[in-house]
Subunit: 418 residues, 2 copies
């Protein structure tokens, strides 16, 4: 069989399975998720054996140590997957919830009912744990899922998905509710992206190259996250200690992630008090500062910032710093360079806090808190499928509710239109 | 200047204007909408003159009478546009509304605030009234809009958009909040569809060919509506008079629109009582029936239905009719042939009503009411931008709220992550 027919057949089967998943009661879905966790623990040895095949192949191909490291399925990886499954099982089921309801003058009762999306395609790189994490969230929301992991993780992903499909079968559900694309060939991705008749949503997870490729080639709606160029603006009159703690946490707590601060903006009236002590704290934490001229006058160790630093996502212990005239200047800088991911203000001014929250156009806008809180778990959504920086359907962290949509339900007593 | 640079420059200008629109207070937006209505009335003569140029060109090109009819801007068209503007002005402003709010154990206050989408591109055919209707809804929701109407309506659309941009300017707002693509060349559409850096959403309105072209070529998220193959299922034990009124209204009230019934499914135990009188009513209304064998036994005037009739969108006084074994059979037929637009059941059975509502996968599911109620106005959303049959972001009629998204807003007192 050609790739074409494999992918089309898979998409059709997933579509059929999605109808069954949509009608599956919460208790059964949760039960299946807990059984998958048990089975992962029981099958750990087999999964690690399959993972060894991928690791051997990766070493043969000469992949970098960092890439190989992300491929490893250890006992710790399995423990993290089973914990994730149990957390997702414990989440509230969004399906069937009535989002709102109202009556019409002619007596019609109208409501919006939350329903699954249908079939979700996930295209991801490397980390095999995504296979379990993504499948768990999709199943919880009553969807079927087609998983296309990195070709370098194919054995691991098939072993993990095999656990899921066996548990689905043993519990009388269609195993096609979770499908793994079985071919290493990249053309399978192109084939998946044109299955708009059967697939409702594509979520790419990985590097910017993969995400742009998917966005440019998909006929199916895509939820995506490019990058996080996150800003903290320190206002005149802010609590200076609070500001330094928030900035240090935003930059240095975990510099390699998308919600880490990349640029710090400081009101010029606060700079003389704020920056010297802040620079010393950053230096102690190993953070290299790239500053504007005014910054460098107050933080002598800082390197020179160039135009290239303002849109940079360093994902490292490097920070761009700029002294700005006021909050308007800070917001104009953000409007120009931010990636719409996360922006924070540290302020004690009521009116500016309100304006900042209202006018800054990012998926999460914070007052007096670290940018590191842009995270589904931290914001109380439970597990997350990533952070959307495009505005359609979901903007910000995507939890189980973002994997659903709503339909209109109308109850009448014989109404017709005049 | 090439098309490329015109469209890119327009998209950039619209993006800048969208930031101003996002911060524009409700009262000012409503005031501008009312002033546009007044100005349309005052400039009616000029608008009709410009429309004459399009009509002359259309006649010269030999367009069909139906196409020319849709192009006409009459006093009645203008009255309907001004009424629409006044209705949109009266709608509640969705921007800034807090969709929900909750607290985290660490004291963070989290909420989801409704915000404009940004820049919306509308690609439409023929009817110039869309220029006003679409612009009004987009502005109300705080967005900028790029309008690409049919090339045959360019003079009319430019005259109508000119009224809007003059009113925007006179009220101190960026006129670029409403842009008309000034070129007749179709390549302008391709150029618009790759402006994903500046445009947040594309809404195509027109024939299936246009919509498929946009869906296949857009890098920007698309909200679309292919077709309405709407079903009514008449259950065993339903009130027969109610069922006949609902079916007659669903089919014959306005057969050329997307929420008209195209296939009627009848429980076999109800067929003998229901169908003969129903067939007579349809005959009186000029409806041609294409029936299955059992239907034809009870409605002798019916033509033979073939496999091609079940997925057909007639948009005419033609109806496919099938006798089914039970509700499961009816739902299986819908799952196979429906376009996810609108399905209705007429029943007096509580459990079946509940199952139908839960399991039927369409944007609007009705019990004991006409399919003709799938309409933003009828369901209480106010004016609508069309009906989405894809599930992302909006599923069903799209009102002003569907032209917005939400961002997360977080208020803290210095919280950082451990």
């Amino acid at each position: 069989m050609s790739n074409e027919s494999i992918i089309t057949a898979m998409a059709k089967a997933a579509r059929a399975a999605s109808r069954e998943m949509a009608a599956c009661p919460s208790r059964k879905k949760n039960d299946v998720l807990l059984k998958i966790a048990e089975r992962l623990e029981a099958d750990a040895a087999h999964i690690k054996d399959e993972n060894q095949k991928d690791l051997a192949f990766a070493r043969e191909k000469g992949l970098s140590e960092a890439m190989i490291d992300r491929l490893v399925v250890s006992d710790q990886t399995i423990a993290s997957m089973t914990q994730g499954l149990r957390e997702v099982a414990a989440l509230e089921d969004p399906v069937g919830a009535i989002a709102k309801t109202w009556n019409r003058p002619n007596g019609l009762e109208v409501s919006k009912m939350r329903i699954p999306l249908g079939v979700i395609g996930i295209i991801y790189e490397s980390r095999p744990n995504v296979t379990i994490d993504a499948a768990a969230l999709c199943l919880k929301a009553g969807n079927a899922v087609i998983l296309r992991g990195g070709s370098e993780a194919l054995h691991s992903n098939q072993a993990l998905a095999g656990v899921i499909t066996r548990v689905l079968s043993e519990n009388g559900l269609c195993p096609e509710a979770v499908c793994i694309v079985p071919v290493r060939d990249r053309s399978a991705i192109n084939e998946l992206l044109i299955q708009d008749e059967y697939v409702d949503l594509i979520i790419p997870r990985g590097g910017e190259g993969l995400i742009r490729f998917v966005a440019e080639n998909s006929r199916i709606p895509v939820l995506k996250h490019y990058k996080g160029v996150c800003h903290v603006y320190v206002d005149d009159g802010a609590d200076m200690d609070m500001a330094r703690q928030i900035c240090l946490n935003s930059k240095a707590h975990r510099p390699g992630v998308c919600n880490a601060m990349e640029t710090m903006l400081v009101h010029e009236a606060a700079a003389a008090e704020f920056l010297p002590a802040m620079a010393r704290q950053f230096e102690k934490a190993g953070v290299v500062i790239k500053g504007c001229e005014k910054t460098r006058a107050l933080a002598p160790g800082a390197e020179v910032a160039t135009e290239e630093d303002w849109p940079a996502e360093y994902l490292d212990l490097v920070l761009a710093v700029k002294v700005v005239a006021d909050m308007d200047d800070a917001m104009a800088h953000m409007a120009r360079y931010s990636s719409s991911h996360t922006e924070a203000i540290v302020t004690s001014d009521y009116a500016r806090a309100r304006r900042f929250v209202k006018e800054v156009d990012s998926s999460v806008v914070l007052v007096n808190a670290s940018t590191r809180f842009n995270d589904g778990g931290q914001l109380g959504l439970g597990a997350e499928m990533g952070i959307s920086t495009s505005k359609l359907h979901a903007f910000g962290p995507m939890g189980v509710e973002e994997l659903t949509t709503t339909k209109f339900v109308v109850f009448g007593q014989g109404q017709v239109r005049d």
